[in-house]
């Protein structure tokens, strides 16, 4: 089966990135998912074999699940990198930062639909995708004011502590797509 030749839309990328950071389950963490992720890395000029498993087996899935749980849910001795902005900005869960984040969603005509907190990494990526759906480039304010101030700290923790390369890779790709690019950056690299 051949994939589309259409250029990739940024909104789709963010939706995909949100998916990469959900709890990996066999229902979606499949070889097809891996194939898309690998191709994305290729397009980014990276050799995916170094970063992603060759195939999804029960063993690889469980390894990633255990590392995901340790990093983001309940770890020994501690959760390594709680995926919530509040933790990095305020030091506690579901605090003022979470309130402000939700307020931002609402002020743009959106709201959360699950019982996850608004400042969870996946929720924020979902929101960014929706903004980009409406108008390309419209997520920049959110990225600058809400996402990047905490994500960089989160990224460093994951890169330092993750045991499976899949999660490190996902975080690095998110970092690439959420980084604030200046005109100078764009000009140079182009």
């Amino acid at each position: 089966m051949s994939a589309t030749q259409e250029p990739i839309r940024l909104a789709e990328i963010f939706r995909f990135l949100a998916q990469t950071m959900r709890y990996p389950e066999s229902s979606w963490f499949t070889d097809d998912f891996l194939s898309v992720f690998k191709e994305l890395l290729v397009q980014l000029g990276h050799v995916p074999q170094k970063s992603l498993p060759e195939k999804i087996t029960d063993v690889t899935l469980e390894e990633i699940q255990v590392d995901y749980t340790r990093l983001f849910i309940n770890g020994v001795p501690h959760v390594v990198a709680p995926p919530y902005a509040s933790i990095y900005i305020d030091g506690t869960l579901n605090s003022t930062t979470a309130d402000k984040t939700r307020e931002y969603f609402r002020s743009h005509g959106f709201d959360i639909t699950t019982n996850e907190f608004p400042d969870h990494l996946v929720t924020e990526l979902d929101f960014i995708a929706l903004l980009e759906d409406e108008k390309q480039g419209s997520s920049e304010e959110f990225l600058r004011l809400y996402f990047r101030p905490w994500f960089a700290k989160f990224r460093d923790l994951v890169l330092a502590e993750a045991e499976v390369s899949y999660l490190k890779t996902a975080v690095e790709v998110i970092d690439f797509f959420t980084r604030i690019e200046t005109e100078a950056d764009s000009g140079q690299a182009a």
Binding site: M1, A3, T4, Q5, P7, I8, L10, E12, F16, A18, Q19, Y23, W28, D32, V36, E39, L40, V42, Q43, L44, G45, E62, V66, T69, I73, N74, G75, V76, H78, V79, P82, Y84, T92, L93, N94, S95, A98, D99, F105, R106, S107, G109, F110, D111, I112, T113, N115, E116, F117, H120, T123, D126, A129, L130, T169, F176, E181, Q188, A189, A190
Partner: protein
């Protein structure tokens, strides 16, 4: 990994043509954000949620919650409450922090590592419930229901406990609230005055309040403390018997610094003195007393001199206190205590307190032992009895005839470890942390390690959750329906009123936390007990319970969370009240018929008896990770007498380890508090610190875990409850 291009460049050139499927096809999850009507900033108003019932401790004050956007902002006492009123304590306030504790359990988890050295993997509820049911069923089929044991605690544990106890049929259930706390009090009073006493003394209207080891103010139960303070405000004299100058001792007219373990002797000496002085309430005893003559003879040996020598208390003070009690009788509150599992001779001490009530006639009168007349009609909802039932081990063996409900803890641990009289291979732990509640932690760990299956249900990680195979996240007391709280106005002499309230959620549960009815029912279905399920959901259970009183959840909400109705005068003594000063039934079982002092082991040279108690800002070990409370009291200083500290070259603020007489060293250190306000033969610390679970960001390793030092076991012979103050420690500079 560095990406050597810009986002703009990537979007201009990239395609995913080589991927096996289009990008959009692999994004399967529903987005966590969606289009919604525009909401201007600042439009989410606070909403007051009624019907909260606190469970930061088990006094269960009535609350309202200030909620904004399904987020709990603040808790307050329910203004309609005639129990705690608008007051809640520091712990009650800090419930907000429990709700949003970053370390709270969020999803079901499976331990893919070792018990004690867990490696967690998030799993689905279906997988978790399937595993629990399969493992419990396997144990039931191989060893019978008795092969399953349970350690429950708190309101949410009652429903699953009744499922396992009644329907599945295991007798091996041991509640810390009985076997490591108040069970002895309840059965001793039952054997003496025919009823468990609760803490039902009318302190607000007393002329004298007498507390044996009670440290009100450090042990904060709001309406109880209101009674106590109202009594003091009204001029009540206060007698506190305690080796330590506690918060209550600091307010006392008499601080009796009794030698630990000799409290029963003190009671017997005072009662003998009162009788010798002819100051006992003869009319009351004639009408209600059983076996008074035998009792009188039995305690005659306890002269003031012998008592003074045994208890290391000045003879004059014993007389003064006894006179104070007798001269103000019957308006005297002899407090029955709450946590009473001290020395393994506790049934006798609790009997002596009940006898003192009878001796003074301090029952049914203002200031005395008085139970409020609460509302009737709450419907009982519980699991039906199944087929597989055996007697508990202590009943089979003819042990502990005055045990509280359930099975004495050590019988369960011993059976599990030795396989005798039968194997116990599955363990359900629900809201309890047996490692910090039951003495001899290694024995608890040994018990868990030999299990085929261990499951824990809790709101937070604790020491015991490290030993779970499956760990389930529970909705907290702020996120669920359940407990029916009923009673009367806190001041028994006030306008007579009754109240009924039920716990209603302040906010919805976040993440994948579930309540006890969901979890239990799903396990029951999978174990083949679906036809026995009594209710399908928690709100249904609460409505059924309330229906007997003509109430419902909707009606309670309409009444601001609390239904209030006219009450009844609680004072007066029932004609059929009997006080068993001498109880031949107890003698028939081979124990003393009249309260008897049984000496405890002396403190070995170079050691101190380890005493523990409550902190006003913590509850057992449940609140140690709460950042607000932790900030108020981050560790538990060890109190030591100033003269002894000088000999040991210790000064306040020094950091120490404790090492007990069996060589067990505390995992952590704490600071020393040097004070003349404690006897020379003991040291004291607040209980519930120093968890070994590193998953507690602030609680782990903060302060010393007193339970880790309580390795020498004492078991009360009449009840099977633990005595936990027979361990001795040295302080060693860290």
């Amino acid at each position: 990994m560095a990406f050597n291009l810009t986002r703009r460049k990537f979007l201009q050139t990239a395609t995913l043509a080589a991927a096996s499927v289009p990008l959009a096809n692999v994004v399967t999850a529903r987005a966590g954000v969606a289009k919604s009507p525009f909401t201007p900033s600042g439009t989410m108003a606070d909403k007051t949620m009624v019907g909260g019932i606190c469970e930061m401790c088990f006094w269960r004050c009535q609350l309202v919650g200030k909620v904004r956007d399904n987020k709990l902002m603040k808790l307050e006492g329910n203004p309609k409450s005639i129990d705690n009123g608008q007051s809640i304590c520091a712990r009650g306030n800090a419930g907000v922090q429990l709700l949003y504790d970053r370390d709270r359990l969020k999803y079901p988890m499976k331990n893919v590592g070792q018990r004690g050295a867990p490696k967690w993997k998030r799993i689905s509820w279906d997988e978790a419930l399937d595993t629990c049911a399969k493992k419990l069923k396997a144990t039931e089929q191989k060893f019978g229901a008795k092969g399953i044991c349970m350690f429950p605690h708190g309101a949410s544990a009652k429903y699953p406990m009744h499922y396992l106890e009644k329907t599945v049929g295991t007798p091996n259930v041991s509640e810390a609230s009985f076997y490591q706390c108040r069970g002895i009090r309840d059965t001793a009073f039952l054997a003496t005055i025919g009823t468990p006493p609760g803490e039902n003394v009318d302190m607000a209207n007393a002329k004298v309040i007498f507390g044996l080891g009670c440290h009100f103010g450090e042990n904060v139960h709001v309406s109880h403390v209101k009674r106590y303070l109202k009594g003091l405000e009204n001029g009540a004299k206060l007698v506190i018997v305690d080796p330590r100058f506690s918060a209550s001792a600091a307010k006392a007219d008499e601080w009796v610094a009794v030698k630990p373990g000799t409290d029963t002797a003190l009671m017997l000496g005072m009662m003998n003195y009162i009788i010798q002085q002819g100051k006992h309430n003869k009319a009351f005893i004639d009408k209600h007393g059983i076996g008074f003559a035998e009792f009188k003879d039995s305690i005659a040996e306890w002269t003031i001199e012998k008592t003074a020598q045994t208890c290391d208390v000045p003879a004059d003070q014993i007389k003064r206190v006894a006179d104070l009690l007798a001269d103000n009788a019957p308006h005297v509150s002899i407090h029955p205590g709450r946590h009473v599992s001290w020395h393994g001779n506790d049934f006798q001490r609790q009997r002596s307190l009940a006898c003192m009530m009878g001796l003074l006639g301090a029952m049914g009168v203002k200031g005395g032992f008085v139970k409020g007349k609460g509302p009737k009609g709450i419907t009982s909802v519980t699991w039906p009895k199944g087929h597989d039932h055996v007697d508990a081990m202590h009943v089979e063996a003819g042990l502990y005839p005055f045990s509280p409900p359930g099975t004495p803890t050590d019988l369960i641990r011993d059976a599990a470890i030795t396989g005798a009289p039968y194997p116990i291979k599955s363990c359900v732990i629900w809201g309890q942390n047996p490692i910090q509640t039951i003495p001899n932690q290694q024995k608890t760990i040994d018990m868990l390690k030999q299990m085929d299956f261990v499951m824990c249900v809790d709101v937070m990680p604790t020491d015991i959750t490290m030993y779970a195979d499956i760990l389930l996240p529970e909705a907290s007391y702020l996120e669920r329906y359940d407990y029916i709280k009923k009673g009367t106005q806190w001041d028994l002499s006030g306008k007579q009123q009754q109240y009924i309230s039920a716990r209603l959620p302040m906010v919805m549960a976040d993440f994948e936390r579930k309540d006890q009815v969901y979890i239990t029912n799903e396990i029951a279905k999978r174990m083949g007990y679906e036809d026995k399920i009594p209710v399908s959901a928690l709100p249904e259970m609460v409505d059924m319970q309330l229906s007997g009183a003509g109430l419902s959840i909707a009606k309670l909400i309409a009444e601001d969370g609390i239904h209030i109705q006219p009450g009844k005068d609680p004072y007066g003594v029932a004609d059929d009240l009997l006080v068993y000063f001498n109880n031949e039934e107890i003698a028939d079982y081979g124990y003393p018929a009249a309260p008897t002092y049984i000496a405890v082991e002396e403190v070995p040279a170079g050691h101190f008896r380890l005493l523990y108690g409550r902190s006003p800002v913590h509850t057992f070990n449940r609140s140690q990770n709460n950042v607000w409370l932790h900030n108020a009291m981050p560790e538990n200083p060890v109190w030591i007498n100033d003269e002894m500290a000088k000999k040991l070259n210790l000064t306040s603020g020094d950091r120490v380890h404790c090492i007990n007489s069996e060589g067990v060293k505390s995992r952590n250190t704490t600071i020393v508090k040097v004070t003349p306000g404690i006897r020379k033969d003991c040291v004291y610390m607040a209980h519930g610190y120093g968890s070994m679970n590193p998953a507690l960001s602030v609680g782990a390793g903060s302060g010393i875990d007193d339970q880790a030092l309580i390795t020498k076991l004492a078991v009360d012979p009449e009840t099977g409850c633990h005595g936990m103050r027979n361990n001795f420690v040295k302080l060693v500079k860290a």
